[in-house]
């Protein structure tokens, strides 16, 4: 009976120290930043870094769905370029007839295209039963080739007349908070709600944790995973919407290697690659960590430019090790 007493008293949700890992790692990196360069903490710099991390953070929220449901998406970077390309083409085409509203219409088209791209990935993985790594590696090539083809190997710039009205979506702010940050917050809140508070979220975890059990329990694993890929596509489109005003063009190199950053953010955030666990807020911390590290590389003058990638690699590994020791 002792056992019973002990477990009964376990009571409400415990604070899990392990879950704090990414936030502690973020704090450590920020602290390092402060020590390396005093201007790190300047308002503009912090605002820049946080705003910039919006792209990876938003896409990584989608990736949290995919990964926790047992999938993996290597195509997000190319998909981002492709969706950006389609959106700019659509906006430019619509601009003569719609004026500024072309932006809204283009964004809508982007969301639809993003969702369709995600659907494609999802169907190849679930209906075609192909290892997600390979399936999305395939579509990564496909999307990248499509944007190269659409841009004839060059670039697809947005119309000048659309630049001004579109600008605030990246550069504007509401009550001092940059718009991309607000957008990220909304995406994260919605993502956390769906993952932690809805049936779908539950089923996502179950599908990622043990697909057989989920199946026996009447969960359609294929549907759950496909939906996760669609959500990923939508997140990519949202990121694309706030990316366009920043750079104003889509090129064959847009979003290159973002997939690796996104997955790294998710994993640093505490979501396991084998699925079954999701840490949306951790994911955001992961995205911030990556962006802060990159920022520090620019702010500090200690490393040869050739070795920046090495230092970044070392810091990421150290951050993960710090995790372990905290656990």
């Amino acid at each position: 009976m002792t056992a019973a007493v002990a477990s009964q008293s376990a009571g409400p949700r415990r604070i899990r120290w392990a879950d704090m890992g990414p936030f502690i790692a973020l704090a450590v990196v920020v602290l390092a930043g402060v020590m390396i360069n005093s201007s790190f903490l300047s308002g503009t710099n912090i605002a820049n870094v946080v705003t910039r991390s919006a792209f990876v953070a938003i896409i990584a929220v989608g990736a949290t769905f995919v990964i926790s449901s047992g999938g993996l998406d290597l195509s997000v970077g190319s998909m981002m370029a492709f969706v950006t390309g389609i959106m700019i083409l659509a906006m430019n085409r619509l601009e003569p007839s719609m004026g500024g509203y072309a932006i809204v219409a283009g964004a809508g088209i982007g969301l639809v295209v993003g969702a369709l791209c995600g659907l494609l990935n999802g169907l190849i993985v679930t209906v075609g039963k192909i290892e997600p790594f390979i399936a999305t590696l395939g579509t990564m090539g496909i999307f990248r080739a499509l944007i190269t083809w659409m841009s004839d190997g060059g670039s697809i710039p947005i119309e000048r007349s659309l630049r001004e009205p579109y600008r605030p979506v990246y550069f504007g702010d509401v009550l001092g908070i940059p718009v991309p940050v607000i957008l990220t917050l909304v995406v994260v809140l919605v993502g956390a709600f769906v993952l932690y508070r809805t049936k779908y979220g539950r089923r996502c975890m179950a599908a990622g944790s043990n697909a057989d059990v989920a199946r026996f329990s009447g969960v359609s694993v294929a549907k759950v995973r496909t939906t996760a890929f669609v959500i990923q596509g939508l997140c990519v489109a949202i990121a694309a919407i706030c990316y366009i005003p920043r750079l104003g063009a889509a090129t064959p190199t847009t979003g290159q290697l973002w997939e690796l950053q996104v997955i790294t953010a998710v994993v640093i955030g505490g979501t396991a690659l084998r699925g079954g666990k999701a840490r949306v807020w951790g994911t955001v911390a992961g995205a911030l960590i990556l962006e802060v590290i990159a920022n520090l590389m620019v702010l500090s003058n200690m490393v040869s430019e050739y070795l920046v990638a090495a230092v970044q690699g070392v810091i990421i590994i150290l951050a993960m090790l710090a995790h372990r020791f905290i656990k």
Partner: protein
């Protein structure tokens, strides 16, 4: 197999008058060339507990999977209340009111207890899952079957027994017409078993049809209204339970007379201890356990589920963080890992055969020789011949019933997996063996054999530690019994003190018989 059945009395009963809750006719199942079940006819009545018994590999689990839609039959029909039904999958069967509690544990480890219970049928409030309601319901249902875990515990951290109870709770969440239990008590200890039997009776009294598989014939005797016997994938017959003794059942299953179950008492062990353990403490498990075992001795470890027995020995093996000292054969064991222990002559057999014991998608050979790789394959290359011989010997020695040696371990029946696991550990030729639940899921005919095996082992001057939740086994096999409670060794029983009552008493109240403290 055509020899006359040893039971003179009852003949197979005729179908009763009211429409059976479920009916099977001509059910067959084959995996490729391997026929597992042939021509099974069964009627399952509401308000009745129907026990299915048979040797390991007889096809009981397979039959249950056919009835509950987990596996599709190669031939035959099912009907519910007279209407023919066909289940496309387990979900369809559950929708029709048929649910199976699996022999092996099927839960999503990352989810909490309550999340697992309600998976696929979450309670919601608006668009949100209603965790509070689900946790409340879960707590109720867990309490009703005597499970002590918390609804918010992650399943992966639970001991095997609690996981089994969660699985049972899952089946009972909604009212069912047919509830099938496949060896639900194999991983449970006495008081959990009692609670479960009460649950099963409750189900029956509320008009459900219960199918119940167990190798513990006392349970079958206590519960069953009717009993069906399977042997080698065929039906031997169905009898009313009242006329059958446990001995009758055993003989129907095996098809021959059975000898005495437990080996005769051995002379008291003397000599220096083979293994001496001092102040062993394990995170979340044992506290300062000290004990010793002598050559020629079977040391039994008793206690309730959750008393920390498994943890203590996993800690000893270096499989969990632990502190304390150990001396094997006079040599202090400083670096404790499974490999180091094995080299020094001690092995541990896990209670979790699916999770920690066998590679389910590998064939028999690699599984059997995994632990004794260097013994079986002394040279650089793998010795396929030696491995084949080892498999053949294990199959013979442990009576592993496989229809083909090329099957993967996961395709063996539960009991045969257990035998394979036992054979695997024994292949290393240890001095001291720690066996956690040695006969879990093994049929009555083979238990015998395993007991004899343990007996023969210690008679050659080796030693064996047996952790068991089956009291008769613990009492019948051990020369000495340590009882654990709350992670501590609370009693040591020797000689005539070793009775079921004393073990239970020590395990629950802590006032053990015999000298206080566990030092031998």
């Amino acid at each position: 197999m055509s020899e006359a059945l040893p039971i003179p009395g009852p003949s197979p009963v005729q179908p009763a008058l009211p429409l059976p809750a479920m009916q099977a006719a001509g059910l067959c199942k084959a995996y490729g060339p391997i026929t597992v079940l042939t021509d099974i006819a069964l009627d399952i009545r509401a308000g009745e507990v129907h026990a299915i018994i048979g040797e390991n590999g007889a096809g009981k689990s397979t039959l249950m999977k056919l009835l509950s839609g987990h596996v599709l039959p190669t031939a035959g029909h099912l009907a519910m209340a007279g209407q023919p039904v066909e289940f496309a999958d387990a979900v369809a069967a559950e929708a029709a009111g048929v649910v199976l509690v699996h022999q092996e544990i099927l839960l999503a480890g990352d989810l909490t207890v309550a999340e697992n219970l309600f998976l696929g049928r979450e309670l919601t409030r608006g668009p949100m899952v209603d965790d509070r309601a689900m946790n409340r319901r879960a707590a109720e249902i867990l309490a009703s079957i005597g499970a002590h875990c918390h609804p918010r515990d992650p399943v992966s951290g639970l001991p095997l027994a609690q996981r089994q109870l969660v699985q049972i709770a899952r089946a009972l969440l909604e009212p069912r017409k047919v509830v099938i239990f496949d060896e639900p008590t194999a991983v449970l200890a006495n008081d959990e078993v009692a609670a479960l039997l009460a649950v099963v009776r409750g189900l029956r009294d509320r008009g459900a049809a219960v199918l119940y598989i167990s190798h513990r014939l006392d349970e079958v005797e206590a519960l069953a209204d009717r009993i069906t016997v399977l042997r080698d994938g065929r039906m031997i017959g169905t009898w009313p339970a009242r006329g059958l003794t446990q001995r009758d059942m055993a003989e129907l299953m095996v098809g021959r007379k059975l000898d005495m179950l437990y080996p005769p008492r051995r002379p008291a062990a003397s000599g220096d201890p083979l293994l001496r353990v001092q102040d062993l403490s394990v995170d979340h498990g044992a506290v300062q356990g000290s004990f010793a075992v002598r050559p020629g001795e079977v040391l039994g470890i008793g206690g309730m589920i959750g008393s920390g027995r498994t943890e203590m020995f996993e800690g000893l093996m270096g499989l969990r963080p632990a502190t304390g000292s150990a001396v094997l054969n006079g040599t202090p064991m400083v670096h404790r890992s499974v490999g180091a222990w094995q080299a020094a002559g001690l092995v541990y057999l896990t209670e979790d055969r699916k999770g920690k014991g066998l590679l389910l998608d590998e064939p028999l050979g690699p599984n059997l020789t995994l632990q004794a790789l260097t013994e079986v394959h002394p040279r650089l290359t793998l010795d396929r011949k030696a491995e084949g011989a080892a498999v053949a010997k294990a199959v013979a020695d442990y009576d592993i019933r496989v229809r083909s040696v090329h099957l993967d371990a996961g395709q063996l029946s539960g009991g045969n997996q257990q035998k394979l696991l036992l054979a695997k550990v024994m292949l290393t030729d240890p001095q001291v063996v720690i066996i956690d639940e040695p006969t879990r899921g093994i049929d009555i005919g083979n238990k015998n054999q395993i007991y004899d095996f343990i007996d023969a082992l210690v008679r050659t001057g080796k030693a064996c530690i047996v952790i068991s939740s089956e009291l008769p086994e613990l009492v019948g096999l051990s020369d000495r019994v340590l009882v654990m409670r709350g992670g501590r060794i609370v009693a040591e029983l020797t000689g005539d003190q070793i009775t079921e009552q004393n073990v239970v008493y020590a395990a629950t109240s802590g006032e053990g018989h015999g000298p206080q403290g566990a030092q031998p």
